[in-house]
């Protein structure tokens, strides 16, 4: 199941990325190779003959919209640096410039992470007066960008997953599990077990009250309630083993086993789960403790009800190991 979901996520990403990129190519979203008409004004006329000049680029909103077929509007003017050689002119925008839609994406995909200065080739440079020129800006072509994005996103997520998510969890997890281990060693589970035992009796009518299975189940559920997962699993497995000794049909689950599992799916969480504290921080966890109590209590209640009610359905009653065996005995006595 998980295998399919995981692979599905990746395959879906690929299909989506490919569709978007092909669509972009078909619609010519980035106008690869075409020149965007702009007006360039020199900041000071004295600079005109220098190879590198500080300029302002004015993009006419109407021209921008019709050029890229979008509704976004560029800023009034952008500061930039114009560099001229004998046969070539290049314009560079500062790294902190904010661009409207397709241009922002062109910037992100044509510049490296550590140098976000968008560059454009300047074509058809025409002087109108000493400080004003018209020109066409040609940006580097953008192709299969979403495909590159998903690969990049996977690499960044993998790196951040360890450095920014997992490793910072260690401290809080170590501290919280250390504290709860003290409680465990001090016999807190045993103490709470006394409270849990009487509640369990009516839920497991097939299990004799003094059977060891009852003890292990009480331990298991208490460990779960206190969020001591490390103590919960071994006691849970032990409880299953003991329940199995009461099971007349070894390959089929008894009602008691189903009840134990249903109570496991969402058992009341008294202490905040260590992972939530580690991921969300103590303040946020504090806020969330109440909804966690209520939601887990409701889940536990519904689980118990579901286990009981489904057990009464004829289909499941017929497969009940205890009932099947009882039925067989009845037939045996009738035969005699």
């Amino acid at each position: 199941m998980l295998n399919y979901i995981w692979a599905g996520l990746i395959v879906c990403s690929l299909v989506f990325a490919l569709t978007r990129d092909v669509n972009d190519m078909r619609r010519d979203t980035y106008r690869n190779g075409a020149a965007l008409p702009v007006k360039i004004t020199l900041d000071s006329p004295a600079d005109a003959e220098k190879p590198s000049q500080a300029v302002h680029v004015v993009i006419d909103p109407a021209a921008y919209r019709s050029f890229y077929h979008v509704d976004d509007t560029p800023a009034e003017s952008y500061p930039a640096t114009l560099t001229k050689t004998s046969h070539h002119a290049e314009l560079r925008f500062p790294a902190d410039a904010t661009f409207p839609k397709p241009l922002a994406r062109i910037r992100d995909s044509t510049t490296p992470d550590d140098d976000r200065r968008l560059a454009a080739e300047v074509l058809m440079l025409n002087k109108i007066d000493p400080t004003t020129m018209t020109a066409g800006l040609k940006f580097a072509p953008v192709r299969f960008q979403t495909m590159a994005d998903i690969a990049n996103a996977a690499m960044i997520a993998a790196k951040d997953g360890v450095m920014k998510v997992a490793l910072p969890l260690i401290g809080v997890m170590a501290f919280w599990l250390g504290i709860t281990r003290i409680g465990e060693r001090a016999g807190l589970i045993a103490m709470f077990t006394k409270l849990v035992r009487p509640i369990l009796r009516p839920l497991f009518p097939e299990v004799p009250p003094n059977h060891p299975a009852m003890g292990f189940m009480a331990l298991n559920l208490t460990a779960n309630i206190l969020g001591m997962g490390n103590a919960a699993t071994p006691t849970g497995l032990k409880a299953m083993e003991e329940l199995q000794t009461l099971n007349p049909k070894k390959d089929t689950a008894t009602n008691a086993m189903v009840m134990l599992l249903a109570m496991h799916a969402s058992s009341i969480q008294l202490l905040p789960p260590a992972m939530v504290i580690a991921v969300m921080g103590l303040r946020a966890t504090n806020e969330l403790l109440m909804p966690i109590w209520l939601a887990s209590a409701f889940g536990l209640m519904m689980g118990i009800i579901a286990a009981k009610v489904f057990g009464l359905l004829p289909g499941y009653q017929r497969t009940d190991p205890n009932r099947v065996q009882a039925g067989a005995e009845v037939q045996l006595t009738e035969g005699q």
Partner: protein
């Protein structure tokens, strides 16, 4: 509502402080070597995190790809009109799907959501409550029944999913009611 929230706030602070201070104190009274017990538990906390790293990286990378490709937005916007009827935000769906399947993976989903929406967003609170109030039902069923070679699990999956579903859905509505 405001008073309830204040009471809850105080109550949960008391619980957490009671654990942090009370456990070592109670341990000393019971003559438990508290520091040794703490270190022993701490080692396990360390190992748990190290153990879940590959699972988390797998889910985080797949989720990041899914988001970057635009498929996540498509899924969320596609589900929105459907889920509006029951007043459930579609942003929470990835968590609701992963939680019964994998514990480490759902931590990955939670951290992905924190990165996207921020810790104080309602979606992240919902996801954290879902994480805290339910279990990896499928995994538990597989391990527990597997350990005693029971293959016919009868209504265990159905009952487990009812419990899990109840916890997940009530988590969503509770957070919605209490924090938005």
């Amino acid at each position: 509502m405001e008073t309830i929230r204040a009471v809850v706030q105080v109550l949960s602070t008391v619980v957490i402080v009671a654990v942090i201070v009370g456990f070592p104190f109670y341990g000393i009274l019971k003559r438990v070597p508290v520091y040794e017990a703490f270190v022993e538990g701490g080692k396990e906390g360390f190992q748990i995190v190290i153990r879940i790293i590959p699972y988390m990286v797998g889910i985080l990378a797949a989720m990041a790809m899914f988001r970057a490709s635009g498929a996540m937005d498509f899924l969320i916007e596609g589900l929105r009109p459907l889920l509006r009827i029951v007043a459930i935000p579609p942003e929470i769906i990835p968590m609701a799907i992963t939680r019964p399947l994998t514990s480490a993976g759902s931590i990955g989903v939670l951290s992905d959501m924190i990165k996207t929406y921020g810790t104080s967003s309602t979606f992240v609170k919902m996801a954290a409550v879902i994480f805290g109030s339910s279990e990896t039902t499928f995994y538990v069923i597989a391990v527990y029944f597997g350990s005693v070679n029971v293959t016919k699990v009868r209504h265990a999956v159905a009952a487990g999913l009812v419990a899990e579903g109840a916890a997940i859905i009530s988590s969503i509505y509770l957070v919605k009611f209490m924090y938005s």
